[in-house]
């Protein structure tokens, strides 16, 4: 077993290689940059050779120009390199944060995080090294990991969420061991140096892009293109071109320096865990994964050489920072036949499931954080604790909302229940439990539950929310009919989850709006009053308040569908009109001096969907 210091010596030799390559790259860049500069100068009719030395001697002037240009470029690169170097020297956590990592707290309650911490500590024992900081790249579904740091004590190990979810314990251990051997071999320090040096070359491209942006934005307000802006844009273009060149050179350097040491780190990992097979399996999982293993992160390119496997797919294979996966697997497991089995369909399903679980887990985290802030939130007053928990779990909240929207009619209800149970994320046991406890809840409690559940649903990713809404519609709206409660819950959840696209209908004509108001108030009047005469007078009161003539329909049937249509029209009204409408509704409801549940529920739903505050809403029956 080679010890740490021998590895450090090897790493130092690599550093010299790196520096030599870097010097070559920089001089190539400087040499190349002369041509466009000279060309630009000629274009603007300035003698470039008077920039740095104005003396009479022509040859000295030429010499002075070249030297001056070279020195200024070199010093700019130097400053960039030093800036990055001192930034990264602070420790691995800087890089981990820049790549979007979150530190795993050592007392984490999340089972996956617990497992990761345990695995890292285990490997630290095997490597006889201090335990590094542990980070998780929470938003990366791909399988990857990296180690970073300058000194042994400030190094960190980061793992993507995808790796946490898709690898089993042994494979995760192997990946962590690979990163540990990078730390042990002193590769992380080399990485810091390399990143800093390469930043010196690649930042030119970044600067060029900024210049172009600046020039384009500067010329706009004045309406004319100044010479300065044009010049800036031209220089920017040239810089971008050189930046691209610099990036390619940087990639080539990375490839030259890094590729070999991945084999070494693989071997080191096998030495630590004595289980090369597990590492081979982990690599195989990456190789067979149906998605591309690229990292979704802005500055991943600068750090691509840090990772466990290729974080980016370069356009030329010899520019890739890592050896091909198949070769690495072959080296670890000579008995491997080299055949990548296509993942069976069920597996694809599990990755989808995995992504969903990721969303689930993240939202769980968010919810959990939320819970800690307000402990009493989870214990909803007067509601079964199990229901409270379900409402806080985004995945469970989905079917909980569906259950709230069930039809009153027994037969339809059974069909709906069957449909809900058939959903992939419904646990039958919890479902039965929830059905029993929901039966005993009053309207206001149910609304409270809905509110919490919608809060949890918002934690789901956008596309799952959309999927949920279409499912909800399919299940809840049976033969285009709804009963009042179902309508209310359905409208509330749709309203809460699709705020962005309300008001897409645009301006509607007055007649249509008038009819809509008429329908709304008719429905309200019929809910609250049994006797037809009373209904008519209540409607009249409201129509006077609105100053809108209204016809009394008289039939109490089929109001809910009308209500639904009317609501979608009324939603497009301006806010002030909505306020007036709700006031009229209130008047209509309270005309007979008593307010029943149906009225309240309707008004609550209307007010909530129209974003209007209402007094009645705050006192719902229990």
């Amino acid at each position: 077993m080679q010890n740490f210091f021998e590895h450090q010596r090897q790493a130092r030799r690599k550093t010299w290689l790196l520096v030599t390559l870097f010097v070559i790259a920089v001089s190539a860049l400087i040499a190349l940059i002369h041509f466009p500069v000279l060309w630009v100068m000629e274009f603007y009719n300035t003698d470039p050779h008077t920039y740095f030395y104005q003396g009479p001697d022509k040859s000295r002037r030429v010499y002075g120009f070249h030297l001056g240009l070279a020195v200024s470029i070199a010093s700019v690169i130097m400053i960039a390199v030093l800036y990055k170097y001192f930034q990264l020297r602070q420790g691995g956590h800087v890089i981990a944060r820049q790549l979007g990592g979150e530190q795993v707290q050592s007392n984490s309650y999340d089972p996956l995080h617990r497992l990761l911490l345990n695995v890292v500590e285990e490997v630290a024992i095997a490597a006889r090294m201090p335990v590094p900081g542990v980070y998780v790249l929470t938003h990366q579904p791909s399988i990857n990991a990296f180690a970073a740091g300058y000194h042994r004590h400030d190094s960190v190990i980061a793992v993507t969420q995808g790796a946490l979810q898709q690898l089993n314990r042994e494979q995760l251990q192997a990946v962590v061991a690979h990163e540990f051997s990078h730390i042990r071999h002193g590769d992380v320090r080399l990485n810091v140096r390399m990143t800093a040096l390469l930043f010196g070359i690649t930042f030119i491209g970044q600067a060029g892009e900024n210049l172009i942006h600046g020039a384009m934005n500067a010329s706009r307000p004045h309406g004319q293109k100044g010479d300065g802006a044009g010049f800036g844009a031209l220089v920017g273009l040239i810089l971008t071109l050189f930046g691209w060149l610099g990036t390619q050179l940087g990639d080539a350097i990375k490839a030259l320096v890094c590729r070999q040491r991945e084999y070494l780190a693989d071997a080191g990992a096998a030495e630590l865990t004595r289980a090369p097979y597990d590492l081979a399996q982990a690599l195989l999982v990456i190789a067979e994964s149906p998605r591309k293993n690229t990292l979704r992160q802005n500055n991943a390119h600068l750090y691509s050489h840090l990772f466990f496997s290729d974080a980016l797919s370069p356009w030329l294979s010899w520019l890739s920072t890592h050896p091909p996966l198949s070769k690495r697997i072959q080296a670890l497991d000579p008995s491997w036949d080299g055949v990548l089995s296509k993942r069976p369909r069920s597996h694809a399903h599990t990755t989808v499931h995995g992504a969903m679980m990721a969303a689930h887990e993240q939202s769980q985290l968010q919810v959990a954080r939320h819970q800690r802030n307000s402990e009493n939130q989870i214990k909803l007053e007067g509601i079964d604790a199990n229901l409270g928990y379900l409402a806080h779990e985004p995945v469970d909240a989905q079917w909980l909302v569906m259950m709230l929207c069930l039809h009153q009619d027994w037969q339809q209800r059974q069909t709906q229940l069957r449909q809900i149970v058939a959903l992939p994320y419904v646990d039958a046991f919890k479902f039965d439990q929830a059905e029993n406890s929901l039966a005993g809840l009053g309207m206001s409690k149910k609304l409270m539950l809905l509110e919490v559940a919608i809060g949890a649903l918002r934690c789901l990713p956008q596309h799952s929310q959309r999927e949920f809404l279409t499912k909800l519609k399919n299940i809840v709206v049976v033969d285009g009919s709804l009963d009042l409660h179902a309508w209310s819950f359905y409208e509330l959840s749709v309203h809460a989850l699709s705020e962005a696209n309300s008001g897409t209908i645009g301006r509607l004509n007055k007649e249509l709006i008038g009819t809509a108001c008429e329908q709304l108030l008719n429905a309200l009047a019929s809910f609250g009053h049994c006797d037809e005469k009373q209904q008519a007078t209540a409607l009249n009161a409201a129509s006077e308040a609105l100053q809108l003539p209204m016809r009394y329909y008289g039939d109490a049937q089929c109001q809910v569908t009308r209500l639904q249509r009317a609501l979608s029209i009324v939603k497009t009204l301006p806010q002030a009109k909505k306020q007036v409408l709700i006031q009229a509704c209130q008047l209509c409801i309270s005309h007979d001096g008593e307010i029943n549940e149906a009225e309240q529920v309707t008004l609550y739903t209307l007010a909530a969907c129209l974003n209007v505050d209402s007094e009645v809403v705050s006192h719902l029956p229990g």
Binding site: P111, N118, E121, E122, V123, A126, A127, R128
Partner: protein
Amino acid sequence: MTVLLIILVVVAIAVVMIFNNLVQYKNEFQNAFAQIDVQLHRRHDLVPNLVATAQAYLDHENTTLKAVTAARNQAVSALQALHQGNIDATKLSQLAASEGALSSALGALQISVEDYPDLKADSTMANLSEELTSTENRIAFARQAYNDAVMQYNSFKQSFPPVLVAKMTGHGIDAPLLQLEDPQTQRQAPKVSFN
């Protein structure tokens, strides 16, 4: 005369360097042993929790739990005995035996846990079982690190120039390798055949 003096000085420097290396390697393996010690303690502390949690579910498998508790007590006393005085081979083999017994008892417990879905689904049990897996791994790795360090020490001590120095400077005896039984093999379920 000067030549002799130079040779003497060179030899003295070599002896000092070898001695320093011996001390360093010895400290390394002793430190590695301390690490095993930490992990064994961790396992011993884990067992009562495990038993307490499992007890609620496995009333009639009391013998398994009793075996685990007994093995744990044995292991604790063996570890304590090791702390009194130097590390020697007999105490180590005693410790190895009792830890092996504990491993197999825990393995039996884990197998019976498999038969109780409720217990397996219990979140405390899931936590404990992850901790147990981790601890087993830690013990295995710590043992591996210890054995690596011992091997480094022993092979340095037995190689040519140090072998002359080692005996004179109190590094006469080879450090013992630790042979705990492999918990991986213990944990496998017993094979059942119907023939």
